[in-house]
Point group: C2
Chain length 331, copies 2
C-alpha cells in the first residue's frame, strides 16, 4: 500500500502539518525535525498524492494544450518547447489533438477543473473557445491566433514581415518575374504573408508574375510548377507559402531537368525538416518556434500567478534563412 502523509507523520513522530511544511518548504520547521521528516519520506518512499493536493490547493499544475494536428515541424517544435518550459516550472502537459473542433474531450479539458490554464495552438474557430474560457475565467493564451481584433493574450509571428522580407530578398537578387504560390485564404498567416509580399513588390515597382492559391502541400507546388512548364511561361523566382509547396516546385522542376536556383529561385517558409536536408537546401523564412513556445508558457503562468492579465500580445519576427535555393538572376 502506498504511504500517505499520515504514515510519514507517524513514522517520524511529528504531525502531518509539519510534514506538509517541509514538503512545501514553508519555513518554521526546526532543522532537526526537517531531517527527521525527510528521512521518513525517504524510508517510506513517500510521494504526495496529486489529486489530494489539487483538491486542497485548488489547482492542478496541469496545463492543457489544444491543437488540430501534430504533423507540422513548427507545431512539433512548439509542443516540445511548451513541454520543456512547463516541466521547468513544475507543470504537466495535457494534450488534446483534435481535428474535429466539436468533439467532447477538448471541452472537458476546460470543464472539470482539470487544468490551470490552456494554450490554444493555431486553432480555427478560436472565438468559440475564447468565449467559453472567459466565461469560466480559465487563464489561456493563443498562439498564432486567426483574429487579431479581440483583446486576448497571444503570441504570434509577424507574417507580413516574413512575406515582405522574402520578396525583398528575391528583389535584391535582381528578379523581376516573381510569383507567389500560397496557402488557403482562410488562414490569417496566408493573407499576411501575401500582403507583405505584394507590398514589397509594389515598392520595387513590380507586379507579381502570378499569385496562385492552394493547399500547403508538396503536391500543390508540384502541380503549379508543372502547369507553368506546360504553358511555357515561367517566373524566374517564386515565394512559396511554405516549405512543402517550395519542395514540390523544386521537385517538378527537377523532373524536367531544370535546376534550382539556376533555372528558378525558390524560397519557402517555416524551415521544416526537409528544408535543410534535401538538396538544394531551401532558402526559407524561419519562425522562432522555441521562443514562441516559451513565451506562451510564460505569459500563461504569469496570468495564473497574477490572477489577472493585461492581455499582452507578444510578437516574434521571423528570420530569413538564406541557403542554396535562391540566386542572383541571370538573363
Amino acid at each position: 500500500m502506498k504511504a500517505s502523509i499520515y504514515d510519514v507523520a507517524r513514522y517520524c513522530g511529528l504531525s502531518v502539518v509539519t510534514v506538509s511544511r517541509v514538503l512545501n518548504n514553508t519555513g518554521n520547521v526546526r532543522e532537526k525535525n526537517r531531517r527527521k521528516v525527510l528521512d521518513a519520506i525517504e524510508a517510506l518512499d513517500y510521494r504526495p498524492h496529486a489529486a489530494a493536493q489539487s483538491l486542497a490547493r485548488g489547482h492542478t499544475r496541469i496545463i492543457g494544450l489544444m491543437m488540430t494536428t501534430l504533423h507540422d515541424r513548427f507545431f512539433e517544435t512548439v509542443v516540445n518547447e511548451i513541454n520543456r518550459a512547463l516541466a521547468r516550472y513544475g507543470y504537466f502537459l495535457a494534450l488534446s489533438v483534435s481535428s474535429d473542433v466539436r468533439s467532447r474531450e477538448t471541452h472537458d479539458l476546460m470543464h472539470e477543473d482539470r487544468v490551470d490554464g490552456l494554450i490554444l495552438l493555431s486553432l480555427p474557430e478560436e472565438d468559440r473557445y475564447v468565449a467559453q474560457l472567459k466565461k469560466r475565467s480559465i487563464p489561456f493564451v493563443l498562439i498564432d491566433n486567426q483574429r487579431r481584433d479581440h483583446m486576448v493574450p497571444s503570441v504570434l509571428t509577424d507574417n507580413y514581415y516574413g512575406g515582405y522580407e522574402a520578396a525583398k530578398h528575391l528583389l535584391s537578387l535582381g528578379h523581376t518575374r516573381i510569383a507567389h504560390v500560397c496557402g488557403p485564404e482562410y488562414f490569417l498567416s496566408t493573407r499576411e504573408r501575401k500582403r507583405g509580399f505584394l507590398d514589397a513588390l509594389r515598392e520595387g515597382g513590380l507586379s507579381p508574375f502570378a499569385v496562385v492559391q492552394g493547399d500547403y502541400e508538396i503536391g500543390f507546388g508540384y502541380n503549379t510548377a508543372k502547369s507553368w512548364i506546360r504553358s511555357g511561361k515561367l517566373p524566374t523566382a517564386v515565394f512559396a507559402g511554405d516549405d512543402y509547396i517550395a519542395v514540390g516546385i523544386v521537385n517538378a522542376l527537377a523532373e524536367e531537368g531544370m535546376r534550382v536556383p539556376e533555372a528558378m529561385s525558390v524560397i519557402g517558409y517555416d524551415d521544416q525538416y526537409i528544408a535543410s536536408r534535401l538538396r538544394p537546401y531551401l532558402t526559407t523564412v524561419r519562425q522562432p518556434a522555441e521562443n514562441i513556445g516559451q513565451s506562451s508558457v510564460e505569459l500563461l503562468l504569469k496570468w495564473i500567478g497574477a490572477g489577472s492579465t493585461a492581455s499582452v500580445t507578444v510578437e516574434w519576427k521571423p528570420e530569413l534563412v538564406i541557403r542554396e535555393s535562391t540566386a542572383v538572376y541571370k538573363a
Copy 2:
C-alpha cells in the same frame, strides 16, 4: 463562483448522494427526481470537480505517454491515435516528450498518482522504467520496445518481416546487386530489419552488395549514394532503413542526373509524409501506426480494468507499399 455538488443538491432539494447517483448513472433514482437533478445541473452549469473525483475514486482517468521526440511521422500518428482512442473511453492524455531520460518531469508522471497508466513509446533504457512501474504497480504498455525478453505487455511490429519483404520485393524484380543502408545498431528495429533483409537475400542465394550503417537521416542516404557514385560502383537496388535515408539516396542520384527507379531501385521504410508526396513516390514498408496506437490503449485499459494482466504482446505485420521507386532490373 463555481457550483459544487452541494449547490446542486440544495438547488433541487435533494441530497448530494442522489445527485452523485444521477451523475454516475447508478440506478435507484426516481425518474422525477432524476429530472430535477438534471435541471439543477443545467441551471447551475455544474461540472464535477476532477480532482475531488480522483481523490474519492482513487483514479484520475489520465493516461501518461512518454516519448523522446515528436518529430517522426510514425510517432505522430501513434500519438494522434492514442489521443483519439483515449478520448473515446473518456480518458485524458498527459504527454511527456523528453530526450533526456533522466529528467525530473517524466518521473513525477508516475510518482504522484497523476496517471492511471503509462504508455512508453519507443523509449531507450526502457528497463529502468519497467522496474519502477512494476514496483509501484502502475499499469503500463510498451510500444516498440527494445528488448523482447522481459515479460511485459507490449505492442510492436515485425521488423524482421518488413526487412524480409522489402528484400523479397527487390529480388522478385530481378535485382542481384542489392545494398542495405540502415540505421544505428542499437535500435532493435534496425537489427531486425537487417536480419530479415539478409535472410531473404541468403534464400535467394545472394550476398548483399553492401550494408552501410549510419543515422536515420536524409544526409546519411545522400552521402552514401554520393560515395557510391564517386567510387563508380553502384548497386542496382537499395533497401533503405527508413524513408529519410531513401529520400537522401534519391536526392543524390538526381543531382547526378540519375533517375529512380531507372538507374536504381530504392525502397524505404515507415511511409513518412514525403514518401507519398515527392516524386518519385517511394515504395516503402508501412507500419500500421493507427492499429498500434489503438492496441496499446486497449491493452492498457484492459489491464486497468482487470486489475491484472496476462502480459500480452500484440504484434502487427508491416505492409509493403509499392509505388514508383522500384522497378524491374534491366541490364
